[in-house]
């Protein structure tokens, strides 16, 4: 953003280098710290941008509305966030365009004042994306608005009437393409006319044109109700529910307006001052120029200002990061991509305070798929009031990441268990809730394959095939369907078919019913046992030992052993272990806990908590002690 004056004075090169450094760092920050693929994964951006809903023609199936082209464009660009580097590039490019546009506009109305202001949009963009929401549509609109203003202010038109007509032409185009920044365009145009060009008549005419234009365009071109026509030109949609989003969305808008007004006013004030103190100013200018000509101090000032700028921008961006949301999104992302070790590692970093039903679902699923559910489930919080995998019914209020779990992970969990119809129900909801939901299409295709409905599966797959990121995957399943419409050679499909419930009823199948249908349904069994453990139902653990034998578990899982140790201790009986033995390690751990509790802390579990949680926090012994023996708030979880 080096202007001609800078180049002439020899500062252009430095400014260019500073800009380059800034934007490279900006790109790297977005790529490695924010990770745009997480934004792509998050809930609200998918929901807001219906552009690439598979099976839908955005232009034909959605009514015309002001700003539809920018919604389409931003939807298309957002689609590329699937690849983090592409997302980082897009965010950087849009931020750069905004900064460039603001620079040119401010330069036009106020000269070379407060150049640091030009980087403010970049800072705001970082803060926006630190909250894992998407603002592409708004930012693109603002960039377009500022660049349009730049074009307008540089048009060699001096006749007021003609300039006004040109302004209206620009505004009409902006209303159609990017209505979000339309009002901003008018206000900035009026600032230019009033404070820079000093043509108050045109400024008034521009302000006056704000009112009738939505009246003319809204109802007659876009079939909008009048109030909706005016609503659509506001800096934020009053119907959106997220206050944080409203603040972030409006801030940039208001900032640009305020900065422009301040710069233009200051410029006007300076000019007046200059006129009355010409001689003094000339002397000051000479001093300033003399000072500027000293290369060492100029370089120092350059390095300092650049350093301050970088520290302020990236420091603010780092400080404003919603780290909890980022971790939750990473867990959800890993769950979607079945990256179980990464998921468990990420989950272990999150404080118990931030655990929710979404986490609970994903962690337990990851543990199951890692073969560790019945060994390590208490290494993670298992709040007693929460279900192990369900995410509430349709009336349960969920936050954004919980919605992701409900719409993406839950159908998969249900499908893997054999609850295919319930999986289909949630997957169908997911397809609409998330709008852009390619995994949902694949889920539904597989569900229909399992249900011997290959024709329906093909519709979902052909729709998925239109998505460049999933084309090959969809085509592979389509090819397989052509060869073997029943997927008779697919082991997982056969296994799920064997696990599907026989009894039709309204509601949901219980884990017991699934096991009654298929006693080898390992997932249903492990979740049932995990449920028994969570509920402290020791006798149910004892009664189900034979199932471990039936499913040929080499040994009893650790938590079940621990539950059996407590059961035997409490009932003074030994259940039929069906050939299994309680490991010495479990017996020793039980003794050690008892020893600490009773000998060291005289039976005071509160006093013993710190030591026990440190050494035995991941055990069922610990969970049972602090959930069922020591009276605690049932909603409070016990951590490992």
């Amino acid at each position: 953003m080096a202007d001609a004056q800078n180049v002439k004075s020899g500062r252009g090169g430095e400014s260019l280098i500073a800009s380059l450094v800034f934007w490279v760092l900006f790109f790297l920050f977005i790529l490695f710290y924010i990770e745009p693929t997480l934004i792509h994964h998050s809930y609200y951006p998918r929901w807001r941008l219906p552009t690439f809903v598979p099976g839908t023609d955005f232009f034909a199936d959605w009514p015309p509305f002001p700003g539809k082209p920018i919604v389409y464009l931003s939807g298309w660009m957002f689609h590329l966030f699937y690849l983090s580097w592409a997302g980082a590039l897009i965010i950087t490019a849009v931020a750069f365009l905004m900064c460039l546009g603001l620079d040119k506009y401010l330069n036009a109305i106020s000269g070379d004042r407060a150049r640091w202001l030009r980087f403010a949009p970049a800072l705001v963009v970082l803060v926006q994306y630190n909250h894992y929401n998407d603002f592409l549509m708004e930012n693109l609109s603002i960039a377009l608005c500022l660049l349009s203003l730049y074009a307008y202010t540089h048009l060699p038109v001096h006749r007021s009437a003609l300039r006004f007509l040109l302004f209206l032409a620009f505004s009409c185009a902006l209303y159609y393409i990017a209505v979000y920044a339309w009002l901003l365009f008018f206000l900035l145009g009026a600032i230019d006319e009033l404070l820079h060009r000093r043509d108050w008549k045109i400024a008034l005419a521009q302000l006056a044109a704000i009112l009738p234009m939505p009246l003319a365009f809204g109802p007659w071109i876009f079939d909008q109700e009048l109030i909706d026509a005016y609503r659509s030109v506001l800096p934020y949609d009053p119907q959106i529910e997220e206050p944080e989003r409203i603040v972030l969305q409006s801030f940039l808008y208001v900032f640009i307006l305020g900065a422009s007004l301040s710069c233009a006013s200051w410029n006007l004030y300076s000019k007046k001052r200059k006129a009355s103190h010409t001689q003094l100013n000339a002397a000051q200018k000479n001093i300033a120029e003399t000072t500027d000509e000293k290369p060492s101090s100029r370089r120092l000032r350059f390095v300092l200002t650049t350093a301050i700028l970088l520290i302020v921008v990236f420091g603010a961006a780092w400080l404003s990061t919603d780290r909890v949301l980022k971790m939750r999104l990473r867990v959800s992302y890993f769950a979607q991509h079945r990256m179980w070790p990464e998921l468990l590692q990420e989950a272990s970093k999150l404080s118990e305070h931030y655990y929710d039903i979404s986490y609970c679902h994903d962690v337990n699923r990851a543990l199951y798929h890692s073969g560790r559910l019945l060994d390590d489930m208490f290494a993670y919080p298992q709040p007693i009031g929460w279900q192990l995998y369900h995410v509430g019914d349709s009336s349960t209020p969920l936050d954004a990441t919980e919605k992701l779990t409900r719409n993406i992970s839950l159908p998969e969990t249900l499908y893997e268990m054999g609850r295919v119809n319930e999986a289909e129900h949630f997957a169908l909801d997911g397809l609409t809730n998330l709008k852009y939901h390619p995994q949902g299409l694949m889920q539904l295709a597989m569900i229909n394959i399992v249900k011997h409905q290959p024709d329906a599966a093909r519709v979902f797959l052909r729709s998925l095939r239109k998505d460049c990121f999933y084309r090959d995957e969809a085509q592979a399943v389509l090819d397989q369907l052509d060869k073997d419409p029943d997927f008779s050679s697919d082991k997982q499909v056969q296994q799920i078919r064997a696990s599907m419930p026989d009894i039709d009823k309204s509601g949901e199948s219980t884990l017991e019913e699934l096991l009654a249908k298929n006693e080898n349904n390992r997932m249903a069994f492990e979740y049932m046992m995990a449920d028994n453990l969570q509920k402290g139902q020791l006798s149910d653990i004892a009664e189900n030992i034979k199932r471990f034998a039936n499913m040929k578990y080499p040994a009893l899982p650790r938590t079940c052993e621990e539950a059996l140790v407590i059961y035997m201790h409490k009932t003074n009986t030994t259940p039929d272990l069906h050939g299994y033995a309680i490991s010495q390690e479990s017996v020793e751990r039980f003794s050690a806990i008892n020893n600490i509790l009773f000998n060291k802390y005289h039976g005071d579990p509160v006093a013993a908590f710190e030591e026990l949680v440190e050494n035995y926090g991941d055990s069922f012994f610990f969970y049972y002690l602090y959930t069922y023996v020591v009276t605690r708030d049932p909603n409070e979880s016990t951590t490992g």
Binding site: G55, N421, L431, D455, V459, I503, D504
Partner: protein, 510 residues
């Protein structure tokens, strides 16, 4: 010399290519079978005013040659490197209008990469004399309980123009429920809306105006579900149902709709009066799907015992009727027209042909929401003879939401026969004897349109022209409804309360 030889070879090549292209559909080794195409446009009766039946050839080949011809007029010839065949609209219209009542032939030949030609048996269709109403109004929506993307659309059947009448994007993702026309007239219709912002009004279109209307009676809560216009256009029979959603743990359909209660009232258009009658609002029975006989003397409806959710499979409907004197407002005795035992299914969605000769209805295993069943069939009752039969055009899958054309010769219905999951609009020609001919799907510009469309197209209603009102007029009517509710002028609830108390199944169902 070289130049001359090159020119000669090029000319010969051009000649060959042209000749081949011209005749390919008539030459080549013949196959003793029909070509595989989709959608299935073979052996169907088509209206003389229908849009081109674009199709996709499911045969491997390098180039495709199609000749469409009939008794008179120039044939349409298409040569393409793609299996997707798009027929020029102008030529198609000319061919059809010149050959009403005649056969329409489609010859297809394919050339493979080795320049071998294959010619298939000729596809034969029939062009009816009777036109179909030129517009179709339908709902297009996702298979979801949440109203995120749905709308009332209309399609010009004589070309491929589709327009959005009302999209729920425009009113905060409410539900655009069933649309019902008076005598296929787009200027007189009702539309039910469910909106968290604007309540659950019934919107009445009269000419180019839309107004929310009050239908709260003794039996109805103000929320209309299924409606039927009296032939005089002044009375609307309205059912108010208490739907809820249920999930089947097994079976082809994961979702279903349960109707816990339903009653029918009469709404008088001019006065706004709502009349209830105990015989059509019995507390222990569900009355729904009202339909007037074409002479206006009888109100037909469907009736089933009111049962708890766990006995959903026993909610099976009979077809009833009750005499009604428009002049005096007197009701007659309740009569059973068809029992579910006779039909071997739950009798719902009765629709009289405009000439009054036939009653088309639907039969599924149970319930009054056949569209959510894996299978439901179309049945026809001959009013003159009283006989009824399952239509031979019923598929092994789900057929429902049927409507008649204004000339009683065409029916439109939603069918899942293509893939078993997504409803698509189909048309069938019904001759004077009530025989329905092989149906065909609504043609699209892109013949592969339905292959990847993960949205359902439901409630296809044939209308004689485009709906004259704009989306914003519907929105305004909804807002008026809210204003009236807030000012206490309307008996309707218009707050979130009214919608939260709207059963889940009042959201859109496939």
């Amino acid at each position: 010399m070289n130049k001359f030889a090159t020119l000669l070879i090029f000319s010969l090549w051009l000649f060959c290519a042209f000749s081949f292209a011209q005749d390919a559909s008539e030459t080549g080794s013949p196959a003793d079978r029909l070509p595989k195409i989709h959608p299935d446009y073979s052996d169907v009766v088509i209206p003389p005013n229908i849009a081109p039946l674009n199709f996709y050839i499911d045969e491997a080949g390098d180039s495709y040659h199609v000749k469409i011809h009939s008794q008179t007029g120039d044939p349409i010839e298409i040569h393409s490197n793609q299996p997707s065949i798009e027929i020029p609209l102008g030529q198609w219209k000319g061919l059809l209008s010149a050959n009403r009542g005649q056969k329409l032939y489609i010859d297809i030949a394919i050339t493979d990469t080795a320049n071998n030609q294959r010619r298939f048996k000729t596809i034969e269709n029939e062009i009816a004399n009777d036109e179909i109403d030129p517009f179709l109004a339908y709902r297009k929506l996702n298979l979801c309980l949440i109203w995120r993307d749905m709308g009332l659309f209309q399609r010009n059947l004589e070309n491929f123009d589709e327009t959005i009448v009302l999209h729920n994007y425009s009113y905060n993702y409410g539900c655009a429920n069933c649309h019902t026309f008076y005598n296929n007239d787009p200027r007189h219709m009702t539309l039910q809306v469910r909106s968290t912002l604007y309540g659950t009004p019934m919107l009445l279109v009269d000419g180019d105006e839309v107004e929310p209307k009050a239908v709260k009676g003794e039996a109805t809560s103000g929320k209309a579900n299924f409606v039927a216009w009296h032939p005089n256009g002044e009375i609307i029979a309205v059912s108010d149902n208490k739907f809820s959603m249920m999930i089947h743990t097994t079976g082809q359909e994961c979702r279903d709709v349960f109707d816990a209660a339903g009653d029918v009232d009469l709404y008088f258009v001019k006065t706004g009066k709502v009349v209830s009658e105990s015989q059509i609002s019995q507390p222990d029975r569900i009355e729904t799907f009202p339909e007037w006989s074409r002479d206006g003397k009888y109100l037909y409806f469907c009736s089933a015992p009111q049962l708890p959710l766990d006995r959903y499979a026993e909610v099976i409907y009979d077809l009833m009727r009750i005499a009604y004197n428009v002049e005096s407002g007197e009701w007659g005795e309740l009569e059973t027209v068809l029992t579910s035992e006779e039909v071997k299914g739950s009798v719902v969605q009765p629709r009289f042909s405009p000439d009054g000769r036939f009653l088309l209805f639907n039969a599924a295993q149970y319930s009054d929401f056949p569209v959510d069943k894996a299978k439901s069939d179309l049945h026809m009752l001959d009013v003159e003879t009283g006989g009824h039969r399952k239509l031979s055009i019923s598929s092994e899958r789900n057929d429902s939401w049927h409507s008649w054309s204004s000339n009683s010769r065409w029916i439109a219905f939603s069918s899942r026969r293509i893939d078993g999951r997504f409803t698509r609009p189909f048309f069938s020609y019904v001759d004077e004897n009530g025989e329905a001919h092989k149906p065909f799907v609504l043609p699209q510009q892109d013949p592969a349109y339905y292959d990847s469309l993960t949205r359902a197209i439901q409630v296809p209603e044939l209308i004689t022209g485009p709906i004259p009102v704009k989306g914003r007029q519907f929105i305004k009517a909804m807002k008026d409804n809210k204003k009236r509710a807030l000012s206490g002028d309307s008996p309707w609830k218009s707050s979130k309360e009214s919608v939260s108390d709207t059963p889940a199944a009042n959201r859109n169902f496939q």
